[in-house]
Symmetry: C2
Subunit: 356 residues, 2 copies
Amino acid sequence: MDLSLQQITDGIHPANPQSLSQARERTARLVMPPRALGRLHEIGERLCGIQGTLTPAIRRKAVLVMAADHGVVAEGISAFPQEVTGAMIQTFLAGGAGINAIARHVGAEVWVADMGIIPDLDAASLKNGNRLLVRKVGHGTRNFARGPAMTLEEARQAVLTGFELASSLIRKGVDLLGTGDMGIGNTTPSAAIGAAVTSKSLEEMVGRGTGVDDAGLSRKREAIRRGLDLNRPDPRDGLDLLAKVGGFEIGGIAGIVLAGAHHRKPVVVDGFISTAGALIAQAICPRAIDYVFAGHCSEEPGHRHMLDHLKLAPILNLGMRLGEGTGGALAMNVIEAAIKVMTEVMTFDEAGVPEK
Amino acid sequence: MDLSLQQITDGIHPANPQSLSQARERTARLVMPPRALGRLHEIGERLCGIQGTLTPAIRRKAVLVMAADHGVVAEGISAFPQEVTGAMIQTFLAGGAGINAIARHVGAEVWVADMGIIPDLDAASLKNGNRLLVRKVGHGTRNFARGPAMTLEEARQAVLTGFELASSLIRKGVDLLGTGDMGIGNTTPSAAIGAAVTSKSLEEMVGRGTGVDDAGLSRKREAIRRGLDLNRPDPRDGLDLLAKVGGFEIGGIAGIVLAGAHHRKPVVVDGFISTAGALIAQAICPRAIDYVFAGHCSEEPGHRHMLDHLKLAPILNLGMRLGEGTGGALAMNVIEAAIKVMTEVMTFDEAGVPEK
């Protein structure tokens, strides 16, 4: 029953325009000045379009944290050693990371997928190991500064794996998905994808990630420059772009976005790495972005250019730059507030309040 | 047992600097890159300072919506008729307004105070009338374009009433207070206070409120210009400023801020009108602002200048301009997330994750 990428994209349709326009009409009658709750109205209306109803609802929320390792760390582009990727997965399962605190706060489950980290973790021996979904596409990507990060077939597998994992959560009743990421070095492939898609300069697109120093930042820009020159990814071909300068978790995130769109469920993308995944999804199927909310704007400077390209305005702007899905998870709360504004606030007529 | 304003301000002390610095040390050890959750750290640390602990907690939240009418509406400065003030109070009690939906969402109670609307509502005959606290300072202010809005004694009474109402909620166990407002015309006194305190021009400080047209906007600026020229409020004297160009609900909001500071409880101020109240509180007791969080940045253009003056960065920026306490209430959720980051996220040591 596994779908091909073609079958997946054939099943993605735009959000319901009638529900969207009926929702706008309801907003105009709410007992307040026109659109006085600003972006909450826009968010609520988009959810009406996505769910095809004037009474949208969220019953079960989950963050799917996609983890992988990256060959490009050999270029000295990260402030942290590569073994942190696996160690952080164990922290996610133990419930002690940033995403755990925020997901608990908003009432979202945390699931972790090993999309291709270097070590082989034994889920059965780990605390809460049932929350670790081992779906390795490989043991880390290859160094894209020296050649393609992965094969085209691996890229396809990464996207399809993300699609299947998210579809499985949706079948269990999850109706709001958040994307998360973990992978030492992964701002580097994300910036490469962002630069290829947006045509912004590497000065604008490449930042310090978890905190490299000036020399590390130069190495990072140089590695991306070489990777793009050497591999010449086609920015309109999502799988080609992913294969040449991407990462397994980024492909998985693209698959989550496609799954949300395919099943008509909203997806909140987190920061820089998640948005690189959304760019891959957009290249594969542009109308998938109808189902995407941008959770926040990252401190990573290139993020805003990615969001501009997707024509998405971030919900939160709190100077966050952690990843893991933290910004997207926190934004889930605002999305649910927007639903309540749409469904619980009276109209002028219902309230008996005189209008202008 | 009612305190005088002097006794209130004598009892306001800065937030605990030791707890604040210990909180910063804890943040530095959390299992993430340095301060990677941005403003969530700053918010959590401030709460540690306010509560004098490394494990801050919020157990009961309330929004106190202060309502009043304004004589300056005679100048034709509002898009809505004055009877909307009283009608909206009934909508708040019925649970059908924007603030009700958002407060329910974040788990905050809504209390409404009649600080001086024109009609006399009979709380006993209204649905949920026990949530309406009738504490009229007057039946609407006088038109400040023709003379002072209220007497100095009324100004003092408004502030002390807000202090008492908030103190009463705090005695009941409320440990996070949100300020809200309702009062047709009340962006006009708020802009007058903002202009007097910040010295910004009326072009920068005065916006369309609930949506006046170009002619209404001109009348609004002219009314404020005349009010300031005629009454010459002293921006360093909070009661003088409130008496000459303020409003009863704005004084009440100032009292809420002073109560939070006096009892060492955080106060989330909402938008333009609430922040005018915070400016009055600051003029009365500058260190009270240690206890204030700015919930959001309003679409009303002068709001950012007020926030700059208070040296407060808004938590949310969602293009909201409703008032009622909506932006502050929604920000309560982010404040609680910040607490959980401070108290639930492991350190590098606890998680066993290697550092840089």
